[in-house]
Amino acid sequence: MNGKSVLRAVALTVIGLFFLFPLFWVVLMSFMTNADILRIPPSPFFTPTLHNYTALVSGELVTNVGTQKVTYMLNLFNSTVLSAFSVILSLILAVPAAYAFARYKFRLGEDIAFTLLSFRFAPPLLVLLPLLLYFQSMGLYDTYFGLVWVYQLITLPLVLWIVRGYFEDVSEDIELAYRLDGHSWLSTFLRISIPLARPGIAAAALLSFIFAWNNFIFALILGSSRIQPVTVGAFAFVTASAIEFGQIAAALVFSIVPTLVLAIFTQRYLVEGLSLGAIKG
């Protein structure tokens, strides 16, 4: 092992510690009682309990002030539905658009692209109150549809701009070749352009899913408690009587799982696809 690779190993270890230790600690906490968590000084030695998880699943949380109802599973479901549909819709809308901006230089093209991006930087707070008014008058208040629509502000620009970059890296000749083989524009788009941009699409899908997953202000203001995502759900363990840190930790662990699954799934595309990315003409 030469000096350079030693250095490399050290660097990776330090980085790994910085990013993973807090999570490791959270996982430990998810098996602790609140009393164990609030020890001075904190200590990794304790008798583990599944109570935090069972409470989340059963929806019954027994605390120092009686039993509380926990809707976390519902929150988990909501988050999954909202994020998944938001991403799917964004892909359907943004991938063709991204292709248009990447492939054709057309009048107002860049302006439209920038406008679409600019939706990302309208601060949610700014539009929330008016949005609430319109949602109520349009009957969109407290509907998944309404939220998925608003979530496009978060997910669509991201998908658009990431995927666009990848389309620009796909060689035009390959598309032309396929056209000359006698295939229509559409099947060229579906069978050549999209597969070749797949790593980008995978990355964009994953990231926008994460951003949709982490948002909560929209659902909070534009929906009732039956439609709230995990983010709001986790706050429910912060009550006047105590912060149930163990619950929050367990909730956090749960909330990671769906995204993690998606990440592992897309990772395949990232790795596989990237080797054939950037087939420049």
Partner: protein, 479 residues
């Protein structure tokens, strides 16, 4: 069987049987204490129906906006009884406290009829009321047709009832002649000392008598006992930092947020009393407060006491109450009324009141009032106070109730005494005005600066006063 049981309890409620006898007979029928309590509660709820038509809104539906809180738990435990009693359909949204008021403010501001009634603090009504989002509950309270004769509004602690009533004129006294009853007190907190008996014994000190004494003892405690800090109080950059210990102490020192001269508000945050007290307060935190005081919210204060990180707290009494169960220091918590000013004997605790209010945009106001009326009625309050954690209850009769007192004596030694000492002087000591949150938030921020020695107390408070007056002027509240 079930008839037999219900019959049994209705007999008791009708006074045809002693409580002792009831419990024995219930035992014979194989009922545990908890179960009997529920049944008793049911029977008593039915009894409420005797001399008032609770069913007048029968079949209507109301939707509640509630905060995740032990009070809410107590309400929901009994909600079935309310449905039976009134024949109303009740749905509710419960939101975590962290985001609760964001939800309330937006929901109300949209003027939607989605929620008929909701939980609120008294301070929020100073915004919601003038904004026109609330109903003046006097319409109902004063209307015999709307309110049960035995509901007995007089039983609700007057200080609290008044604290929820305001004319909307900045500076005009709470509960004054032409005040509107914006909300109905439901459960409340007054501010006093909760301390760790174990530590106090170890350091051989007894509960502090006043602020200088407190500082002294706090310092002694944290020098005698390793790894703890003397006193926990809130310190985050939020209005919530001002209203508990700080304002209670300030009041005791004769300070106040405003003075009213011929109807004109004048900021008093830089009065000599205020400066004197604030100096002590900052000294207290710097000498014996938590290291990360500026991050301290309700939760850090509570955890500190419960987990044995702090020797005492000066905050809501129920915060100490909650730490008595399920925490490391459970059982070691003692309670003490507190008058900060050495020259004063009677505590003057500021209070936080969880209240219920009706949305002005609601289409079912009478139905909503039924819920408020029921929730704050003697019987459900008593149930909450004894079987759940509706503490502190707002009804004198509940405080006088033997069952409730027993419960406190049993598990919360000293709590009742603390309360009796504090109660007489406890009310909201803020001057009602719609910029309450602007003032208190900025106040907290400048306390943080003083704590970090970025500004002197005098300078900080002078700046604060100046800025407050400026904002009042901009808002057209003062000339």
């Amino acid at each position: 069987m079930s008839n037999k049981i219900t019959g049994l309890f209705s007999d008791y409620v009708a006074g045809r049987m002693s409580r002792r006898e009831l419990m024995i007979r219930a035992g014979q029928l194989g009922l545990g204490a908890a179960a009997s309590a529920m049944l008793l509660n049911q029977a008593q709820t039915k009894a409420m129906a005797a001399n008032f038509d609770w069913k007048k809104e029968n079949g209507k539906a109301i939707n509640l906006l509630l905060n995740k809180h032990p009070y809410t738990d107590s309400l929901l435990m009994q909600i079935e009884n309310f449905k039976q009693l009134t024949g109303l359909k009740v749905t509710y949204d419960v939101f975590p406290e962290d985001v609760y008021f964001d939800k309330v403010t937006t929901a109300l501001s949209s003027k939607s009829s989605g929620y008929d009634a909701f939980m609120t603090g008294a301070y929020q009504t100073w915004q919601y009321g003038p904004a026109g989002w609330l109903v003046d509950l006097n319409e109902f309270i004063k209307d015999p047709a709307a309110t049960a004769p035995d509901w007995n509004v007089g039983d609700i602690l007057p200080g609290l009832l008044h604290s929820d009533a305001w004319s909307g004129v900045p500076g005009e006294v709470l509960g004054g002649p032409n005040a509107k009853q914006w909300a109905l007190p439901w459960g409340f907190e007054l501010n006093s000392i909760a301390y760790n008996k174990r530590m106090f014994e170890q350091a051989k000190v007894d509960p502090p008598k006043n602020l200088p004494d407190l500082i002294e003892k706090a310092v002694k405690l944290q020098t005698d006992i390793k790894g703890i800090y003397g006193i926990g109080v809130r310190g985050s950059r939020s209005w919530a930092t001002i209203h508990p210990g700080y304002l209670s102490g300030l009041t005791s020192y004769g300070g106040s947020d405003f003075t009213v001269e011929n109807g004109q508000l004048k900021s008093a945050v830089n009065s000599p009393q205020c400066k004197a007290f604030t100096k002590l307060w900052i000294e207290m935190i710097q000498k014996a407060g938590p290291k990360n005081w500026t991050n301290f919210t309700w939760y850090e204060v509570g955890n500190g006491l419960g987990a044995g990180a702090s020797a005492m707290i000066f905050d809501a009494d129920i915060l100490g109450f909650f730490q008595q169960k399920g925490t490391k220091e459970a059982g070691n918590i003692g309670y003490e009324g507190f008058a900060a000013n050495p020259d004063k004997k009677e505590p003057t605790p500021n209070v936080w009141i969880w209240s219920l209010a009706i949305n002005a945009a609601s289409n079912n106001k009478p139905a909503a009032w039924l819920l408020l009326q029921w929730a704050a009625a003697t019987q459900p309050t008593l149930f909450g106070a004894t079987k759940a954690d509706l503490v502190d209850p707002v009804r004198q009769s509940v405080w006088d109730d033997k069952g409730f007192q027993d419960r406190l004596k049993e598990k919360y030694a000293g709590y009742l005494e603390q309360y009796t000492a504090s109660a007489p002087g406890s009310k909201i000591y803020f001057t009602p005005q719609p910029l309450f949150f602007n003032l208190t938030t900025e106040w907290a921020a400048s306390l943080q600066k003083m704590y970090a020695n970025e500004v002197s107390v005098d300078e900080g408070l002078d700046k604060l006063a100046e800025s407050v007056m400026g904002q009042l002027r901009d808002a057209g509240i003062v000339k």
